[in-house]
Symmetry: C2
Subunit: 187 residues, 2 copies
């Protein structure tokens, strides 16, 4: 499965075999079952996860116990409670499997070791961070300016396979509406 990570990184920077061997040595392979948690609110966040196979939801639970979906992640995506991982604080979100999921796990210490030894990896992570920032900012704009129907259509256009795989109740929680409101839309 490691070749998936190599293909993913090589879309942005070239790697030789020695470099990739070093990179691979910094990751741990783990398998999770549907409904298992990779990150739990209130606990430490040891890893950033690269998804090899499966589907995850990143959830923020508010004071009333209501779940808000901050994001989904599937094959070829990175996901974690990023502020908690990067700043080594406790998780304020949870990351849970919506399907059986295989991931490669990267500790922050190993991330730093990787970047110190292979500085070109910072270029790779910088591209990923810019895309994450752009996506998060566009979501803010979309939430401020766009109706639910248009936001659903944008999601469908950008990630058609995600919309197929995610239960409608979770899409509703991602869009910030009730399941009933979503089902009344002419989708």
């Amino acid at each position: 499965m490691l070749h998936l990570l190599r293909t993913h990184i090589e879309k942005i920077i070239p790697l030789n075999d020695d470099e990739f061997e070093f990179i691979a040595s910094c990751f741990t392979y783990k398998k999770y079952k549907k409904h298992q948690f990779l990150v739990q609110e209130g606990e430490a966040v040891p890893y950033n996860y690269f998804v090899l196979k499966g589907l995850l939801k990143l959830v923020y639970t508010d004071e009333t116990g209501k779940e808000h979906i901050i994001g989904f992640a599937m094959e070829d995506w990175w996901e974690t409670d990023f502020p908690a991982y990067y700043q080594q604080t406790l998780a304020t979100m949870s990351l849970e499997c919506l399907e059986d999921t295989d991931v490669l796990c990267l500790q922050l210490e190993d991330y730093k070791k990787l970047c110190a030894r292979l500085p070109k990896l910072e270029h790779f992570f910088l591209e990923k961070a810019y895309m994450g920032f752009i996506t998060a900012q566009q979501r803010t704009i979309s939430m401020m300016t766009t109706g639910i129907k248009e936001r659903y259509d944008q999601l469908l256009k950008k990630y058609p396979s995600l919309v197929q795989r995610v239960p409608k109740s979770l899409l509703a929680a991602y869009l910030g509406v009730s399941r009933e409101t979503l089902s009344r839309l002419p989708l």
Copy 2:
């Protein structure tokens, strides 16, 4: 004024005089008056801006002509229509001076030249990108889960001097409420 940029970068990575001289050679200094535009919707976005002095608003205007404030920027902040700058597309937002503003301007080509010659700058920009991503994601969470009063209080706590300097009508547009709603809150 260039020393402000050096101090800013050296909070994250050390620089020697030669390195900073090269960095400085990649920036252009510009002065703008209150109400002038640095970025205009529909036009090219040649620069990313580092604010030396002053205050900017980043605005998205929807189809009905309503202005939504995506962000503010003041001393020591970077701002531009980032997707348009980085992907070299036309601006979908505008960036306008709320006060007379002095900036250092960085073209994308010069940004790439900088990172190629001084790879440690990618570490600097990576830190900035992570913080931008975290801030944008936290804003999404805040918009999904938090009332206007709490969002105003968060803003005041995080950026007290910003809240002092920005007109209340623009704070309302940032928070996504009318000026009247904001003025009825027990602030």
